[in-house]
Symmetry: C2
Subunit: 409 residues, 2 copies
């Protein structure tokens, strides 16, 4: 099955959106977004596993329990994390104000925040912004909404797929943000999914969880996991199909489309990692179990020595050997094979005769795959990551005085 | 008890050493060292836990089983790791050649290598070097030996303590190398300890293990653990004391001196982390257990976002909250206190009224302590680490063409 992706936000029937510059970001860039469904939508959510959780994360967990929502309001420029009782009050105030203006119940509004941790929310600015954004809602507002959630992102991450369910045209669209502090379990990552298909609530939650596990949770930029990660999915049924469940004949097509969109956004996040110049897929095969393959792949993807090496031209596979060696995966050095794309770099733990120039040619590409075969079993896993450049450090050291308007994460 | 440290290698009685430039390093810097005891010395060793282990590590594990050795020969500029059977042959050749020239048994010679992984050893150069270094041995050769084991280190790390055992003067001296790829469990770290005290073999091994656990294994530069880490300890008994055991009245003084030396070298390694400008102690208290305190401290010390933040002036404690939140330690956000030296930054999970300027003044120092109290129990741990600068990335991206003679790790 081939699924045609459009790199844009095309809102499904019954959704409107907007993204505006409300003044939270000193840069004057867009920093507030709102997406609204004109009818109650089934909703699902997946959240950070960090023990320190931002106020809106706490709020949204409650909304998602009701399995129904009408709107999502998001600010960038402030994470509303480590803000205690006043932070929770502020998140609830955002929820209540949006609900009142949209004439829906407060419990039908989801709230997200992304930006720096531990700063009080600029509520006067945000209140004025919410007042201003409601009249700006439109069926074409998706791209602006996608812009308004960005922090250190250099590009917006969007994807749309169209498919048929019960013979009716259905749209599935999504956008995400994330550039630094990205690790397994959805670090400083926000992802929003919208469809006009009707989906049964438990099926929607199940599908979202599976798609996130196979995509966003397989991305690693710097090994840090944030306090704010959230993926939300609204399905408003405007397409008029029979509600999707795993037993529906079009369920496989729907979940495949969802997976393709999620993976597309996840790799866009990895490729836009702070300071990243290369998108690297680390694939481990032949581990004793999938869990061990995952541990080995993450050890490689999170190794600063490996990531800095990728930033240059020299293919130092010794650092990859080193990283799998200290991972939680069982490794027998004398059985390890490593490939740079199709180039065989290491055979049974030793350098092959492939030239440094040939391996370097692979590593110089914008995108390549490191495949590691441990030859100990059938476990396999894939992680999407990027190189680490001086620019990554610069962004994270100097962000407080960054002149180009990028906001702290 | 106050222990006077001398920042140099002062060889104990009966030891001779040398460090020469044999031509392994293209820079022409010292790259081969030899330390010899004029009589059989009790020996102990602690090694990397990486599953991928360099050839000399495999060799030394066997020597240490005999509990007696006469010499240590070390090259820098090549790790002799991921070199398979030929690597082991090369390590054995270094051992045999040194033994023959020193007129001792091969099984009495320890071998270490440090440098890039996966490259064949330049054995012609090394053979000529060993031939040349034996006549260079002298009682004053300690400092040269300490220089010869350096790779990306910018300074040599040395420490000497004098104490009395059974009323006899005893010298304890040590030197170490390590700058990148440093993590718990002794990553790309070499440490050599020498004393003229007589020490019972099992006691020596026990004392070394304890000292390493409390020092080198508490240092983290970049979270990577190497294939070559080795700490060796030779005690030749030339001082004429009654052999030290835990029951000896001077055992506490001896182990305290050993601990002080090891900790001194460990903090010198952290302070000389690749590109490091600051030495940071991360102290966690109030965890449910020491193990959880350790997990939280390491999460902070290894977080790229925290380390890059320390490189600048802005005290972003939110990143510290984030890191403990995803650590394996139980954390209750509403109970966490964080201090920058004596400055109270976070109380019960929220910003205190301490000014940003006051916290920034702490973070601007060359050396400071982040103290985190989880208020959940009595567990505590300390980790020594450093900031991460653009220079760290530059060193690890560009080392292959570094003009100043520093060698790859």
């Amino acid at each position: 099955m081939k699924i045609a992706l459009v790199d844009d936000v095309v809102l499904p029937q019954g959704f409107r959106a907007a993204g505006i510059a409300s003044g939270i970001k000193r840069s004057g860039k867009r920093d507030l977004m709102l997406v609204v469904s004109d009818r109650p939508a089934t909703c699902a959510g997946v959240f950070t596993t960090n023990q320190v959780q931002a106020a809106p994360v706490k709020l949204d967990r409650e909304v998602v329990k009701n399995q129904s929502a009408r709107a999502i309001v998001v600010n960038s420029g402030n994470a509303n994390a480590c803000t205690g009782a006043s932070g929770l009050r502020d998140a609830k105030a955002m929820q209540a104000q949006a609900a009142k203006l949209l004439k829906v119940k407060a419990g039908e509004v989801l709230v997200c925040s992304t930006g720096a941790i531990g700063k009080p929310m600029p509520m006067n600015t945000i209140r004025a912004g919410i007042q201003q954004i409601v009249p700006a809602l439109s069926a074409d507002g998706g791209p602006d909404a996608a812009l308004a959630i960005m922090t250190t992102d250099t590009r917006k991450k969007t994807a749309t797929v169209r498919l048929a369910v019960d013979g009716k045209p259905v749209t599935l669209t999504a956008f995400a943000k994330g550039a630094g502090m990205i690790e397994p379990n959805m670090a400083t990552m926000l992802g929003f999914f919208f469809t006009d298909a009707a989906v049964e609530p438990r099926a929607l939650q199940h599908a979202l969880k599976q798609a996130v596990d196979a995509s966003f949770n397989r991305v690693s930029v710097d090994g840090d996991m944030s306090t704010n990660d959230t993926c939300l999915f609204l399905a408003n049924g405007a397409a008029g199909n029979k509600p999707l469940t795993p037993k529906h004949k079009d369920w496989p097509a729907f979940t495949a489309a969802l997976f393709v969109i999620a993976l597309d956004l996840a790799t866009k996040i990895a490729a836009d990692g702070e300071g990243a110049t290369k998108l690297v897929t680390v694939r481990v095969e032949g581990a004793r179990s999938d869990a061990e393959a995952d541990a080995a792949a993450r050890a490689v993807a999170n190794s600063m020595l490996v990531k800095t090496c990728w930033n240059g031209d020299y293919p130092n596979w010794g650092r990859i050997m080193d990283a799998i060696g200290y991972s939680a995966a069982r490794v027998d050095e004398s059985k390890v094979d490593i490939f740079y794309d199709a180039r065989h770099a290491v055979r049974r733990g030793l350098a092959t005769r492939t030239s440094i120039a040939a391996l370097s040619a692979v590593q110089k590409q914008k995108q390549f795959t490191i495949r590691i075969d441990l030859h100990l079993g059938k476990g396999q896993a894939e992680v999407y990551t990027c190189d680490c450049s001086e620019e990554y450090v610069r962004i994270n050291v100097d962000y407080i005085k960054m002149p180009d308007g990028r906001e702290p994460t």
